[in-house]
């Protein structure tokens, strides 16, 4: 039987100081052009927490605004501050940077994160009030250290600084003298990813009501590599995050496929549940510090605030078919293969129309397509255009070519079957998965019946292949059939066996005569 999607969570951590110190656009600029105008004006371009929290795409990401409601907000969205906005949404939250540093320390198992004494005293009481932080998590917060220790670690020991409003309030230290894979830089990136993954897991637990002990497996699908010099991508961020979140019965494993990893991971999860290997599989990922401020130079040049100031995370629960929640159709996935070819037509054929052809459906038979859901506020000023819209146009164009829709319907298709983008440019985070939570709600409410989720990945960035990657799956309204209703009842099986035995006995008796 198909597995079902029981819920999803979406979190952001607003990390403006990390934009300056950890985003690769900025760290690269400091190396190649240390006196640049951009670096000088950057601090003044960063948004305060309240602005980032009231930003319509961010409120959409955590579930307080639907994609349709977002499309009704006048663009560009950075010019609007929503009156009706909140840190917490029905699918997650936007955590402030200072509390996120505490969460990073909570996630640190090797005493590598140190925070200043006064900072801990100020922020810890607020962190303790968080509705999802239980005693086991609070107990992991350590006492603060002196400022002099922090200054020494940064100045003499290659530690990475943690800053709040430009002030040094802590550090992440290296875990090996020589191994670059355990440098302070890598440890910090991995702890940010782990902490944002953990926060997603905690919200998923709340959103789905699942008993933490019932989660069998966590599949983590971010884009970070954790390991040492002998196994650089050793991994299992999944199990590391599951431990902190308190999923005591869960194992874990990571799936890596650049931005396509979440959709690959969901297909893995759906197959593992449908096959009966596990009952409850969580797919989750934290975010990326490297991508903070990725398009910051273009934003600053055009007088915009730095919009890439949040780390993203998401989690979703795939479970045995309950006859209620939307089904993930594992038998009808799309995949861009080694031999698919790279033209836009070849890509859309592999990802969209191949699975539809298997089901005998037209492009217009899918109610909603969840593609690369990047926020156009971020991408358009940087010259990358409106990415979701470009994807919808390509799907529509192939639809016209196949005769699934008329050329005149092309624009209507993009609004009727597509959505505006709202996800932060955090690589894997916008890739197909931001709509999963809404899709579940829209299917349960009867607004839509089917949705195709498409993830794409830029494999060529790793320089191991020139290939691109992409995968897709379809979710649809539950047929109402559960394992109990579809299976042959035990009584019927007993009756069939009894009949067979009687026939055998009768036939043997006949032979004996």
């Amino acid at each position: 039987m198909n597995s079902v999607i029981k819920g999803a969570s979406y979190i952001l951590a607003h990390t403006p100081d990390m934009v300056i110190h950890n985003g690769t656009t900025q760290t690269t600029e400091r190396i190649v052009n240390p006196g640049s105008e951009y670096l000088v004006e950057l601090p003044g371009k960063l948004r305060p927490y309240d602005d980032a929290m009231r930003y319509a795409p961010n409120q959409t990401y955590i579930g307080n605004l639907t994609p349709d409601e977002l499309s009704a907000v006048a663009a560009p969205w950075y010019e609007q501050k929503l009156e009706d906005a909140d840190r917490f949404g029905k699918m997650g939250e936007i955590m402030p940077q200072d509390e996120f540093y505490i969460l990073m320390q909570v996630c640190d198992a090797f005493d590598l994160v140190k925070l200043e004494k006064g900072f801990v005293e100020e922020v810890k009481p607020r962190f303790e009030q968080h509705p999802l932080m239980d005693e086991s998590i609070i107990a992991r917060i350590k006492g603060g250290v002196e400022q002099s220790e922090i200054d020494r670690a940064i100045g003499e020991d290659h530690a990475e600084g943690l800053y709040q409003d430009g002030k040094l309030v802590g550090y992440v230290k290296k875990s090996h003298d020589v191994d670059v894979n355990l440098s302070a830089h890598v440890i910090l990136e991995n702890l940010v990813s782990k902490a944002s993954c953990v926060l997603s897991l905690l919200h998923l637990t709340k959103n789905t009501g699942i008993d933490k002990a019932e989660v069998d497996l966590v599949i983590e699908c971010s884009e970070e590599a954790c390991g040492d010099m002998n196994q650089r991508g050793g991994g299992n961020m999944a199990k590391a995050a599951a431990e902190i979140a308190g999923f005591s019965s869960a194992s874990g494993a990571d799936v890596r496929a650049f931005c396509a990893a979440p959709v690959h991971a969901l297909i893995h999860a759906a197959a593992l549940v449908a096959s009966g290997t596990y009952d409850n599989v969580v797919v989750a990922a934290g975010g990326s510090t490297a991508k903070l401020g990725m398009n910051g130079k273009d934003h600053a040049k055009k007088g915009l605030p730095i919009l890439e100031d949040v780390v993203g995370g998401f989690a979703t629960l795939i479970s045995k078919n309950d006859g209620i929640n939307p089904e993930l159709l594992s038998a009808y996935t799309g995949k861009h293969t080694v031999g698919s070819g790279s033209s836009p037509q070849a890509v859309i054929t592999a990802l969209v129309t191949d699975p539809l052809d298997k089901m005998g459906l037209k492009i217009t038979d899918i109610d909603r397509y969840s593609v690369e859901m990047q926020n156009p506020d971020v991408t358009k000023p940087a010259g990358a255009g409106d990415v979701p819209l470009a994807n919808y146009k390509m799907i529509a164009a192939l639809g016209v070519k196949r005769g699934d829709l008329e050329r005149a319907q092309l624009n209507d298709f993009t609004t009727e079957h597509g959505m505006v983008g709202w996800a932060p440019t955090q690589g894997h985070i916008p890739s197909g998965v931001p709509y999963l939570g809404f899709a579940r709600e829209d299917i349960l409410s009867g607004k839509i019946e089917t949705c195709m989720v498409i993830g794409k990945g830029s494999l060529f960035l790793g320089r191991m292949t020139n290939l691109f990657d992409g995968v897709s799956f379809i979710i649809r309204k539950n047929s109402g059939e559960t394992e109990q209703t579809s299976a042959v009842p035990e009584e019927q099986i007993k009756s069939l066996i009894a009949d067979a035995m009687r026939n055998l006995a009768a036939s043997l008796a006949g032979e004996g005569r």
Binding site: S342, P344, T379, N466
Partner: protein, 43 residues
């Protein structure tokens, strides 16, 4: 069609637009000499 004939060309494709290898195939037929080709991801 002679616009690209014999010209040395650098190709920069877009993952969410037209990728490099697809552009390569087109401009090869126009007689261009591709000296560098890549696909970039802008998101």
């Amino acid at each position: 069609m002679d616009l690209l004939k014999g010209k040395k060309v650098i190709v920069v494709g877009d993952r969410d637009g037209v990728p490099g290898p697809a552009i390569d195939e087109c401009i090869k037929t126009a007689g261009a000499d591709i000296v560098f080709s890549s696909t970039e991801c802008f998101v």
